[in-house]
């Protein structure tokens, strides 16, 4: 990233510049506050959480052990996390296996109508998922796939594939042409070419793309709740299960929400710069 932005330097040491910095910090805390409050409330007792907002209190980890403990008849945390984990990891793996060669065929050695093909992939994201959920539910029922991890793996792969192809294509087009040509003269075959020349260069881009797929799949609720309400349920369903119509639940809900969001928040923090480069740069440069 370049640091020679002209605008920012203006008024750096003036009072106006100082105020803008303070404003930036203030906005930062404003955006982060609900997440902070959620995590904080997870360490409260129900009595503390269900009352006027309290910043200082005696912290307890009681809610965390309660939400992770098993209650018969209810979806357990362990089950939900393992279902989510496998659905997310395997679908992301499939996305990458399908998207890497496809992105190659759309950028480095493009097929003749690569633009139309790319449009087709992106256009599938325009189809509202509600238009497909009914047939999907019927097909899944016919194939005995309702309430299985497999149905989510297949659909999360389809859901993330267009975005992954879009991002990978932009990373691939940044690979210097000379490098690929050199590999060709060496007689490297397609997979050899991809693995020995291209992959090392686009590795950071691959990681960012995979992370974005992980984020979207981990957070997905609609398909999971429609197709897997009984078994194979994932973390978002487990979170909503902590909302109770009887009695206080805010501290428990906060603890569950914190556990549910933590993996993806940390992953996103690590990948923030690259994610955006993949989304924005390749498309615009």
């Amino acid at each position: 990233m370049s640091n020679n932005n002209a605008g920012p330097v203006v008024g750096k040491r003036t009072i106006g510049g100082y105020l803008l910095s303070v404003l930036a910090w203030f906005v930062g805390f404003l955006f982060f506050f609900p997440v902070f409050w959620m995590a904080l409330s997870g360490f409260k007792t129900e009595a503390d959480a269900n009352g006027p907002p309290k910043l200082f209190f005696e912290p307890t980890t009681e809610q965390f052990s309660e939400v992770t403990g098993d209650t018969t008849g209810l979806l357990s945390a362990g089950e939900a996390f393992s279902n989510s984990f496998w659905a997310v990891v395997i679908s992301t793996f499939f996305v990458m296996v399908l998207a890497v060669p496809a992105a190659y065929a759309l950028s480095i050695k493009p097929v003749s109508k690569w633009k139309d093909v790319l449009f087709f992939f992106i256009s599938t994201k325009f189809l509202p998922i509600v238009a497909a959920i009914l047939p999907l539910w019927i097909i899944a029922r016919e194939l005995d796939l309702l309430n299985t991890r497999l149905v989510l793996i297949i659909l999360y792969t389809a859901m993330n594939l267009p975005l992954a192809i879009w991002m990978l294509r932009s990373f691939f087009s940044e690979v210097p042409k000379e490098l690929i040509e050199a590999a060709q003269i060496d007689g490297a075959k397609l997979w050899g070419q991809i693995s020995s020349v291209i992959l090392p260069i686009v590795a950071p881009g691959l990681a960012a793309t995979a992370l974005l797929c992980v984020i979207f799949a981990w957070n997905e609720f609609f398909l999971a709740v429609q197709l897997n309400p009984i078994e194979g349920s994932t973390v978002p369903i487990w979170v909503t299960g902590n909302v109770s119509t009887r009695g206080n639940f805010l501290a428990k809900l906060s603890a569950a929400s914190t556990l549910a969001t933590l993996p993806v928040i940390i992953a996103g923090w690590m990948a923030q710069k690259r994610m955006i480069r993949g989304l924005a740069m390749g498309a615009i440069k």
Binding site: G7, K12, V35, L98, K109, L118, L136, A283
Partner: protein, 308 residues
């Protein structure tokens, strides 16, 4: 052309080679293409077929072909029109607001100051939060009249508590969507700002252009493709919003959008598969109109790349 002078067998050979090359280029694309076609287009075609039938699952009834009746019903159905309106308003307001706020925040972050990276990390966090969690946290811990932080703040300045999620269901949801998508827009626009050449801005300053004129006449036109990309990606995801609504209002007054509406009519309890399919096909057609516009934007983006 040289080929004109060469004999025909040679020409055929070249053609065959070209064909082979084209096939070789297509090969890596096929698995992804076939998978996408099967998983996304087959259900769509089934929906299309169902939409011309009368088919109720509970109580079970045979599926019968009724032509366009479901469609005429869809267009006269007041609730569907309301849901369509809600979809349009919610998508539009949340996209526009998050782009405007995202631009503002990006401008704030595009300056060197102490803790710049840390503040950016704080701001992107909402985008990473699971939608159902975002909805639940805002509803119960920010908007709630009894224990909500927002109401506590309002009380301090002498305003009485408001149960936001039930009093203003639609705008409460839009608020949460804007909270989640502003960071996304900010990141894209920040990428644009950081790609802006500093010499142009310097030149404008030397020429005595006011910061406001510099922003509107130089920075904003430069940001245009980035803003378009943000609008495109934002619309794709925001038009499908479902999770936030389910956990915040369950579709309370003015907050049932089309995804929720179709769901209520089909596997969410209505079980009228025929008419629900017609509703979803109408949505698809409407989205295709939007998509045509979106793809044109996309096309512009790709052309820019070819020119470079």
């Amino acid at each position: 052309m040289a080929a004109v002078t060469s004999n025909s067998t040679r020409e055929e050979q070249v053609k065959a080679l070209q064909k082979k090359e084209a096939r070789r280029r297509r090969l890596p694309l096929l698995p992804a293409l076939l998978f996408t076609i099967v998983v996304t287009q087959v259900p769509f075609l089934m929906s299309l077929y169902y939409s011309f039938t009368k088919w109720t699952v509970t109580p079970p009834s045979p599926r019968e072909w009724i032509g366009i009746e479901n469609y005429t019903d869809a267009f006269t159905n007041m609730f569907f029109r309301q849901a369509a309106m809600t979809s349009v308003i919610m998508t539009l307001t949340s996209v526009v607001l998050s782009v405007i706020l995202g631009t503002g925040v990006a401008l704030l972050l595009d300056r060197k100051f102490f803790g710049q990276g840390f503040v950016r990390t704080l701001i992107i966090t909402p985008f990473l939060v699971m939608p159902v969690v975002a909805g639940l946290v805002w509803k119960n811990q920010m908007f709630s009249a009894a224990f909500g932080v927002l109401n506590w703040v309002l009380n301090q300045v002498g305003v009485e508590s408001i149960e936001f999620a039930s009093k203003f269901p639609r705008w409460s949801i839009v608020g949460v969507l804007v909270w989640q998508w502003t960071p996304f827009m900010m990141l894209i626009i920040l990428a644009g700002l950081q790609g802006q050449s500093s010499s142009v801005i310097e030149a404008a300053k030397v020429d005595g252009a006011s910061p406001r004129a510099t922003f509107f006449q130089i920075t904003l036109p430069h940001l245009r493709p980035y803003i378009e990309l943000g609008v495109l990606l934002g619309s794709i995801y925001l038009i499908q919003v479902f999770d936030h609504i389910v956990v915040m209002t369950g579709g309370g007054p003015g907050s049932t959008n089309v995804p929720l509406f179709v769901n209520q009519r089909s596997i969410g309890g209505g079980w009228r598969f025929g008419s629900a399919s017609a509703f979803s096909i109408v949505v698809v057609v409407a989205t295709i109109i939007l998509a045509t516009f979106g793809l044109r934007v996309l096309s512009g983006l790709l052309e820019g790349e070819e020119a470079a």
